[in-house]
Symmetry: C2
Subunit: 360 residues, 2 copies
């Protein structure tokens, strides 16, 4: 069992209370915002699930739990996928379900090994679509080097679910020494991003028909375990790894800032955003920093190793667009800032509300 020598849980709890502990109690019913991955999600998870289920492993609130059994150091994680539509350019709900769970294992430094597959089907769902999704799951699992070894299928009457929901859980093994954690960012560290921001979210929105645009982009969904293995094989110190999914880069970095008790500054000029995503966001009044990514990686590491890490990332197929996007500071704790192109500074808070339900 991981220990908590630095009082990380306490620090998170204090930051939570100071910043968004107030959100939950206002509401009596679940809203779409509770599924956003942003503030309301955090409040719901902390106020209901963590409060009821409290234990040292869960309290860490990372994307995976790490524990030791019979001498083996393992990572364990789960995610449910409710994306709408279920097929979109660059992927589908099955590919997403494999890559998402692979990535949540890999960002702890674990090698993902095995997945479980829980499928909830709506009566009337076409078998042909299910075959297509199963084949996509197999292809994604092969690509990531994992196996689906156990599963469950449920069916609910027509109108009681929307086509198909998929849950995957995953088990991985940590074979390296050292801890990679959202709580390890330190002042002076650099923030690296593996590629353009927001491609997945905007692709799904476009596939839904919510945009009047013909876009040339596709989802970034990808398994990050190979890229992460390459990074760790350099031997260079890495403090945090995070795939910025629901809530986007802004929410992911806020989590890191809170867990680590640091401040993170982003440079707007260095944020990689494709013209398609930029254009779509302008039309919709969205900020790319809050759009979900499903195959991008945030890396936080001490400055002395950044050149080696950046070179390694750029040599990998899923890190070709890597660049330094920001830096870690001491104060003000638990906050993220954007240094704008015109020389100003603005606070980048966690996602509030949910502009994009069912993006993953």
């Amino acid at each position: 069992m991981r220990e908590d020598p630095a009082g990380v849980s306490d620090r998170i709890e204090r930051a939570r209370q100071a910043r968004h502990g107030r959100y939950l109690l206002k509401e009596e019913f679940i809203t779409l915002s509770h599924g956003s991955g942003g503030k309301a999600s955090h409040s719901l998870i902390e106020g209901v699930f963590v409060a009821a289920l409290r234990n040292p492993l869960l309290d860490r609130m990372e994307d995976q739990a790490v524990f030791t059994v019979e001498g083996a150091r393992l990572a364990f994680t789960t995610d449910s996928y409710v994306v709408d539509p279920i097929f979109f350019p660059g992927g589908d709900i099955g590919k997403l379900a494999v890559n998402g769970t692979v990535n949540d294992l890999a960002t702890s430094g674990a090698d993902p090994l095995y997945l479980s597959l829980g499928v909830i089907l709506e009566e009337g769902f076409p078998l042909s679509d299910l075959h297509r999704i199963a084949a996509s799951i197999r292809e994604a699992a092969d690509r990531a080097g994992v196996q689906v070894i156990t599963g469950d299928t449920k069916v609910v009457p027509r109108g009681k679910a929307d086509k198909i929901f998929i849950n995957t859980a995953g088990v991985g093994v940590l074979r390296r020494q050292g801890t990679i954690s959202l709580s390890r960012a330190r002042p002076g560290d650099r923030v690296l991003m593996s590629g353009p921001i927001g491609d997945h979210g905007v692709t799904v929105l476009a596939a839904r028909g919510d945009l009047e645009l013909e876009l040339e982009i596709e989802s970034d969904t990808a398994p990050l375990n190979g890229l992460i293995r390459a990074l760790l094989d350099t031997g260079v110190e890495v403090h945090c790894l995070k795939d910025p999914t629901r809530g986007g880069v802004a929410t992911a970095l806020n989590e890191i800032a809170m867990h680590s008790g640091v401040s993170i500054a982003l440079d707007e000029i260095n944020l990689p955003v494709s013209p398609e995503v930029q254009g779509a966001c302008e039309i919709l009044g969205l900020d790319p920093l809050y759009i979900a990514n499903e195959g991008r990686l945030l890396v936080i590491a001490p400055p002395e190793g950044v050149d080696v890490l950046l070179r390694t990332m750029r040599n990998h197929e899923f890190g070709a667009g890597s660049r330094i996007i920001g830096e870690v500071f001491t104060e003000p704790q638990s906050m993220v800032f954007l240094r704008t192109e015109i020389g100003g500074t603005r606070v980048v808070d966690m996602l509030a509300g949910d502009p994009l339900p069912r993006i993953c």
Copy 2:
């Protein structure tokens, strides 16, 4: 990785093709029967998921996968819960989600350790109900001696799911030598059942208002890991352990008969059925052998140890009603029979169709 020296996968495949391989291909769309746990479920799982995802661990088609990593022998399983109604006498969807996954781990002989929790919520779901379910999950986890250490929450718009669906996956450790498996039943073995049949299914039906009866029963949902540990601690040889959930005792024993390539005979006079379940089944035209149980245990073991096992089971709170209900024979392979009270014999096939959707 478990090996397959006895050609179990081949045997299951042959039995499947001979007996119900024809079910899937008739249909183009998912029906409620595909979620029954019976024939259509098996055909769907084999025809879509196992066919696409094929690997030695998944092909075993047990309720859990067993693998070795870094010298630790682990069990891994998952189940989704879509029960309607979500609260019922004796339990709720949360308690069910903990016990079901605990039991799927324990029936491999593993000690369940950790669970993941994936929750899909419908917009508008009351927070008060969610608090109640979270508290129930905590209570059930404490009772079973496991911890929920990782989780995920998604929200879908109103009308896109029915209140709440829960997925749990679980990891357990096998600390004992020997293999307990659906493929290990041998001629001469006895079949033991830990208590009355069908209480869970009939309770949920009644809670749904589908019965015009006032029933005195409640769900049998319970964690079976303590009972199983007590059995294994006797040192007496046990061949198969199985909790007869969806599809009931009939379907569970058919699975064992197919996996083991044996025949199983049940004695009707020894089947434990409460008067409430008997009465409800008569009114509804259901057979208690096909009704789901969520805290009952089937044990198959050589005759010489049965007295010790039975005594141990009866001394445990979840096995007080244990008795011998049948025996294993050589022929005809892969079949289950009922020896009726009036001296006849009838075939007990797997569940076909689904009389009771959303029972777990």
